[in-house]
Structures are given as structure tokens and as C-alpha cells.
């Protein structure tokens, strides 16, 4: 039995909120530089150059990379030997968001009611996914999600007969009709299987993988590669101005599903692919 104080959780979450918004992962920077080298469109190359310049400014000036500092999303693995002490677990996370978004000069982008649209003022409540796992660790992954890319996401409940060709058609068309809206170059998170909600969740989880990492099953790894190639033939390019860099990667996650169902989800991610994790 291991005890973790809620104050430790709040402090950890506060730091995650700020770090994720100022400092982009090395894997994303490396991938952007590779695509910049190979981009055929002069405008496209210049746009990627400005994106890389922006990443340096965020790091050096300690300011948010994007003004949309995102809806706070957490993926938590709580070891079953852990005892949370001193307060409410979810409230500790929300307090960390509140403090992080205040002290980090991050934007408060959450409305309390979807029809009334009144801002909550502190970027809470967070969306918190918690898995209880063996062990005595607490792993907190923070992935703030911007509205622009999120709005280009979609779930489709296909007939099983649609098969792999159905997946390809859906994913490529989803990127094509998104155009410049999700701030290409994008990262395409794909979920296949699960229930309606699980499918969307695994599509989002796929975005937390190191950029360009492959699905361990060769069928899906090949599909990731094929989709990336076909998406980059669409011609949308950086910011939709035309070019060969429309997507930086496609990540696919799969889950068992009902014998009658074939859900497929795309969770679109922009190039400001922010996620940081800590193990307490």
C-alpha cells in the first residue's frame, strides 16, 4: 500500500499543464524538420519553417505555442496498491488545471453549458480517463486538445463488410474534407473496433504514442504507412496552401468489437501535438 497526497497530484498536474503548452516533444520537432526538407512547395516549406520558429519562441520565451491551450484531457493509470490521501482525486486534478492555466497564462477555453456558452473561467472541468492497473504507481498523461482539430474528428459505425477499404476511404475523405481547418500538417489518430465511445477513445489514445511509431500488428502498421502516403498525395499541404506535407503520421489503435459492428473513428490532431506524462 502506497500513499499519495492530493497536494502532490495538484502540483504535478499544474506543472504538466504549463510544460505541455510551452515545450513541444522532440519527436514532433524531428518529424517536422524531416518533412520540411522534403516539402516540394516553396510556400509549404516556408510555413513549416515558421512553425519550427514558433516552437523555439515557445521554448525560449516560455509562452504557449498556440493560443488554444486546449480542453484539459487526462489519461491516468492508477495502481491498485495506491491510496489517495487528503481529498478528492478528481478535484485534485481539476485544481491542478485551475492553477496551471492561471499561473501559466494559458487560455480559459471551457464553457459550462454547451447551449448557454458561459465560460467557466478556469479551464475546468477536465475530462479524466482512469484505468486501475496492477502496481503502486500513479501515471498521469496530460493531452490538452485544441478545438480546431477536434472539430474535424468523426466516428462512423460501418457495416463489417466495409472492411479495410472502408477504413481507407473514410480516413482519407475525413482528412480531405477537413482542408485547412485543423491546421495541417496534421496527425491522424484512428480507432478501429470497440463500442461507439471506446472507438473514439482509442483514436485519441493513439495520439499519445511517439510520433511515427508503428502499431505492433503488421496489418495495421502497413495500413498506417499506406494511409500516410495516400493522405500526403491529397495536395493540401501545410496550412492548406498546397504541398506534400498534409500529415506527419497516422496512428491506428484497435479493440475487440461486437459481431455486428465495425466502428471507425478519426481523432484529428494538429501539428501542435502536445502531451506530457509523469509517473508518481
Amino acid at each position: 500500500m502506497r500513499e499519495i497526497e492530493v497536494s502532490t497530484i495538484t502540483e504535478t498536474v499544474k506543472k504538466l499543464c504549463i510544460d505541455a503548452n510551452y515545450y513541444l516533444g522532440d519527436d514532433v520537432v524531428k518529424t517536422l524538420k524531416e518533412f520540411e526538407k522534403n516539402e516540394e512547395s516553396p510556400t509549404g516549406k516556408e510555413v513549416i519553417g515558421k512553425i519550427l520558429e514558433n516552437i523555439e519562441i515557445g521554448k525560449n520565451d516560455k509562452v504557449p505555442l498556440c493560443q488554444d491551450t486546449g480542453y484539459a484531457v487526462f489519461f491516468i493509470e492508477l495502481g491498485q496498491e495506491v491510496h489517495i490521501k487528503g481529498g478528492d482525486f478528481a478535484e485534485a486534478i481539476n485544481e491542478g488545471v485551475r492553477q496551471g492555466y492561471k499561473e501559466g497564462y494559458l487560455r480559459k477555453s471551457v464553457v459550462a453549458d454547451p447551449l448557454k456558452r458561459n465560460n467557466t473561467g478556469d479551464n475546468t472541468p477536465a475530462v479524466i480517463h482512469t484505468d486501475i492497473v496492477p502496481g503502486d504507481k500513479l501515471k498521469i498523461a496530460f493531452a490538452p486538445k485544441g478545438g480546431g482539430s477536434e472539430n474535424m474528428s468523426e466516428v462512423q459505425m460501418m457495416a463489417p463488410a466495409a472492411g479495410i477499404e472502408g477504413v481507407k476511404k473514410f480516413v482519407i475523405e475525413r482528412v480531405r474534407k477537413s482542408g485547412a481547418n485543423p491546421c495541417p500538417p496534421v496527425i491522424v489518430g484512428v480507432g478501429i473496433g470497440g463500442t461507439f465511445d471506446k472507438c473514439a477513445e482509442i483514436a485519441k489514445r493513439s495520439l499519445l504514442r511517439p510520433l511515427g511509431s508503428k502499431n505492433p500488428d503488421t496489418v495495421y502498421a502497413d495500413l498506417e504507412e499506406e494511409l500516410l502516403e495516400k493522405i500526403n498525395k491529397l495536395g493540401i499541404g501545410p496550412q492548406g496552401f498546397g504541398g506534400r506535407t498534409t500529415a506527419l503520421a497516422v496512428h491506428i489503435e484497435v479493440h475487440p468489437c461486437h459481431i455486428a459492428s465495425f466502428p471507425v473513428a478519426v481523432n484529428m490532431q494538429c501539428h501542435v501535438a502536445r502531451h506530457k506524462e509523469v509517473i508518481i
Partner: protein, 185 residues
């Protein structure tokens, strides 16, 4: 990119007619921020009083909701938000006299037609390069709807604010042309 065209505000029809899709432009002068909720209120004001709380004739609106400014900085990170959400409101404002819009993402046919009819330009700013965009903003102040926080109308003084012409006043569309040029079936 081709040579950079430098323009100042307020915009004249003459300036607008010289801008073509794909042009890199540096804007120096005043631009006004406004997005979803502010646009809703602006149209309500037009309907009710025929007037706006801010004189937008010959001006440029930047679809943006900035992050809070750190002490000592005039503005926080301020990249564009997605423009299609403002499509229901834009034609009325263009008819009223708005001459420029800055955002990202494609516009509706109604907006493009209004741009042709009344002479207005739609510029694209680089989404996600928000810290870089903030460097061009020298001064910022609330001018309307301060209660909307990030969605308020702010008056920004900008120098060499970098944008690209996406829809000119002649019906041209950079997103269509760009994609055609680089797509491989």
C-alpha cells in the same frame, strides 16, 4: 514565397484590387479581433441600431482569441481560429464596410461572393504559430464586449503582421489552386 507586399490600414479598394491569391503580405496598422460570440453581438447591434460599437468600415477583423498576456507583453499568443464558424456573419459585415478578414480554413460561397461584390480580402495566418504572431503585435486594448474574455473585441496595433492572401476580391481561392497543384492521384 514571392516578394512580400506591405499594406497599411484602413484598407482602400485600390489596395484590395492589387492583392492576388498566394501573395505574402505584411500588414501594418490596426486590426480588430473578434470571433464567434462577438460576431453574434455585432450582427444583433446592426439589426437593432444599424450601428456597431466599433467602426469597422474599411477595417480588418482577425478571427482570434488570444492567450492571456504575460506581464510586460502587449498580448499573449495569438494565432487564428477557424473561419467557417464566422461565415454566417461575414457577408453582413462585408456589406457594412469591413474590408479584410484574417483567419484559417475555407470560406463559404456566400462570403466569397460578398468579397467580390463589395471588395474585401480574406487572409490566412499560420495556425499554431501563435507565439510568432504575437511578436507583430505592439499594443492591444479592449474596445468592446470585454466580458467575453478571450472572445472580446480588441484593437491591435501591428507591425509587419504576416499573412497570405487566400481569397482575393475576384473569387480566387488559394486552397483550391494549391491542392490542385500538389495533389497526386
Amino acid at each position: 514565397m514571392s516578394n512580400i507586399k506591405k499594406i497599411t490600414t484602413p484598407l482602400t479598394n485600390e489596395t484590395i484590387e492589387e492583392l492576388k491569391i498566394g501573395d505574402s503580405v505584411f500588414i501594418t496598422g490596426i486590426i480588430y479581433t473578434g470571433r464567434d460570440s462577438a460576431h453574434k453581438r455585432l450582427i444583433e447591434a446592426l439589426d437593432k441600431d444599424g450601428e456597431l460599437p466599433v467602426d469597422l468600415k474599411d477595417q480588418i477583423i482577425y478571427y482570434a482569441g488570444p492567450a492571456p498576456a504575460k506581464p510586460g507583453n502587449p498580448i499573449g499568443s495569438i494565432g487564428p481560429t477557424t473561419s467557417y464558424r464566422m461565415d454566417p456573419f461575414a457577408p453582413r459585415l462585408i456589406e457594412y464596410g469591413l474590408k479584410g478578414m484574417i483567419g484559417k480554413g475555407n470560406r463559404s460561397q456566400e462570403v466569397i461572393e460578398a468579397q467580390k461584390k463589395f471588395k474585401a480580402v480574406y487572409f490566412g495566418a499560420i495556425g499554431g504559430a501563435a507565439a510568432l504572431m504575437a511578436k507583430s503585435v505592439k499594443k492591444a486594448e479592449f474596445v468592446a464586449y470585454e466580458d467575453l474574455g478571450p472572445e472580446a473585441i480588441r484593437r491591435l496595433e501591428v507591425v509587419d503582421f504576416p499573412v497570405v492572401v487566400v481569397n482575393d476580391a475576384f473569387g480566387g481561392d488559394l486552397y483550391k489552386i494549391g491542392m490542385e497543384k500538389y495533389k497526386k492521384i
